[in-house]
């Protein structure tokens, strides 16, 4: 019972902090909008629509959703580093709840932040000509949810080993840019050279982007169920690694 209330406690804290630091939400939405409006329009103006199967801006929209949660969810992990710095983590570690619960509480906190951003981006999408049905809206949320859990777990894993926010940013950067650029968020997969396709196909985020794109605008490379299975597996593995890392975490 106390494990459940402990998980709720950690979620409650993350949520309070999130609602209190609205600048975090606003700034996390400015970047995707710039990608959509400036990059999407700019590159779209020289692209033959047929290459991506439609309007380029529309094409990258699902990729931009993935990108937004990728960045904000991974860098959510930096808060565990701050918790160490401000000694809040001590308070949590000395409490009678398991490390596993601490990890899940944190994951839920980060996932909530991410989901709020996804919903805002989805609403904004309607201004860019995206149409949702109830089914596609729900399916998008499910895909985003699983992806966010996986990425938040990566962030928390990195954070559990780091003692400085600077160190976290450095490692986080190494991890996040390959995940983003090799995901097909900005380009279609079908005409890639073989060497690049190899890298793209081993990136779990690729399947999240492909699934989201399939659901939102009906363009996809793999079957939606295949995409779903891969990211479920990915999220599961990351949770296992994250839980293990939290158990090993030292102050």
């Amino acid at each position: 019972m106390s494990e459940a209330s402990g998980i709720y406690a950690l979620w409650y804290r993350e949520f309070k902090v999130f609602t209190r630091e609205r600048s975090r939400v606003v700034s996390s939405l400015i970047t995707p909008l710039m990608w959509l409006v400036i990059f999407g329009t700019g590159l779209g103006s020289i692209l033959n629509g047929a290459a991506v199967g439609g309007d380029y801006q529309t094409f990258i929209y699902p990729g931009i959703i993935a990108m937004t949660v990728l960045f904000s969810s991974l860098f959510f992990g930096v808060y565990i580093v701050w918790d160490k710095k401000i000694d809040f983590l001590k308070e949590v570690l000395v409490a009678p709840i398991s490390r596993t619960s601490i990890f899940f509480g944190k994951v839920l906190g980060g996932t909530t932040d991410g989901m709020i951003q996804v919903v805002i981006l989805m609403v904004l999408g309607t201004f860019f000509g995206i149409h949702y049905t109830i089914l596609s809206f729900m399916a998008t949320l499910v895909f985003a949810f699983i992806l966010i859990i996986g990425i938040v777990s990566i962030g928390l894993t990195i954070g559990s080993y780091m003692s400085s926010p600077e160190g976290f940013s450095l490692i986080g950067g190494f991890v996040i840019f390959p995940l983003f650029f090799l995901s097909g968020a900005l380009f279609p997969l079908k005409s890639l050279p073989a060497w690049l396709y190899t890298f793209v196909s081993i990136n779990p985020v690729t399947y999240a982007v492909d699934g989201l794109r399939g659901i939102i605008i009906g363009i996809h490379q793999f079957s939606i169920m295949y995409d779903l299975s891969i990211i479920l597996l990915f999220a599961f593995i990351m949770i296992v690694i994250g839980t293990y890392s939290f158990k090993r975490m030292k102050l």
Partner: protein
């Protein structure tokens, strides 16, 4: 009476550094127990081991009857910990921090609000409960942490330097809270400090710890008594002549440092006149009962003092100054 804590040859090494070296002692239920020592003596490490935050290199300890190695969950349930550094979240309000803590410790949902109210009034933070902690003063923050440590009604409470950096007035308030807790609620309290005065005022028993070892463990009164008398310090204008002083039987110990002589005297109130007669002309004389600082000096051979520290303020006030050359 049962033991709240029992340490058996508890040891912690960090690489080559032995922070805590085979300490063994028992803390009785309901007592206020002080761990006194300079910074880096191993106090915080010892507490962290009791709280299962640091794993001992060897040895064992039982907290509330539970092993700190094999029953970490049970140990954590029975303790409260007020850390040396503030560990509340400053983007949350005082009340929210307490709410969070109550949830973490699995306090019954129906009792949470009433318990938060009662600890808030105990530490006088009721009217500031909705204020974000980042806008709290240092003293308020400390009080909040104390409230938090009490919220889940632990049987054993660890206070790591609870009054560090507090102004004297707030510090005395804090002592009152701590004493009240012990007397009214029967909480066992383990407090670390490097303030002599604090240890003396608060604690039923004190362990003096230095270089990770317990030098002595006793009640403040006994510790004082063992020093062997009052401290009389004489300052001479030139080189001190102690030949005559050394003949006096009631002087137990004579130490010369430059132009000052420090005497350990049996019953100085009665013998001060004789001492001054034997000493001849002195510039200043000071007589006082032994402080914990003298106790520390006695057992470790060095002073416990921080640079620019006001910790001994209370003791200084008690010092009687007598100017031999005064015209008054």
């Amino acid at each position: 009476m049962a033991d709240a804590i029992e340490a058996k040859e508890l040891t912690k090494k960090f690489g080559n550094l032995t922070a805590v070296n085979k300490i063994s002692f028992k803390i009785r239920e309901g007592e206020i127990f002080g761990l006194l020592g300079p910074n880096g003596a191993g106090k915080t490490t010892t507490l962290s081991m009791f709280a299962t935050l640091v794993h001992p290199t060897s040895g064992e300890a039982y907290v509330g009857g539970h092993s700190i190695i094999h029953e970490q969950g049970a140990v954590r349930k029975s303790i409260g910990f007020v850390f040396q550094d503030p560990s509340s979240d400053d983007t949350l309000s005082g009340r929210e921090n307490l709410y969070l803590h109550a949830l973490l410790y699995g306090v019954n949902l129906t009792d949470i609000n009433s318990k938060i109210d009662s600890v808030l009034s105990l530490v006088d933070l009721k009217d500031k409960q909705r204020v974000l902690v980042k806008n709290y003063s240092g003293g308020m923050r400390r009080r909040l942490e104390l409230a938090r440590g009490l919220l889940h009604e632990p049987k054993i409470l660890f206070l790591d330097e609870p009054t560090l950096g507090l102004d004297p007035q707030t510090r005395e308030h804090m002592w009152e809270y701590i004493k009240e807790l012990s007397s009214k609620k029967g909480v066992t309290i383990i407090v670390t400090t490097h303030y002599m005065e604090e240890a003396e005022q608060l604690c039923d028993r004190i362990a003096i710890i230095d270089h990770g070892e317990i030098k002595v463990l006793d009640t403040p009164a006994n510790l004082r008594r063992n020093v062997g008398g009052d401290i009389v310090t004489l300052r001479f204008s030139g080189k001190p002549n102690v030949a005559k002083l050394k003949k006096l039987k009631f002087i137990r110990k004579t130490e010369i440092k430059g132009s000052t002589v420090r005497l350990t005297v049996y019953n100085s109130a009665v013998h001060l006149q004789d001492i001054l007669k034997a000493a001849g002309k002195v510039e200043a004389v000071e007589s006082r009962s032994p402080t914990m600082n003298d106790v520390f000096l006695h057992y470790t051979g060095k002073e416990i003092r921080e640079s620019g520290d006001e910790a001994e303020g209370g003791a200084m006030e008690r010092i009687m100054h007598y100017r031999a050359n005064s015209h008054r």
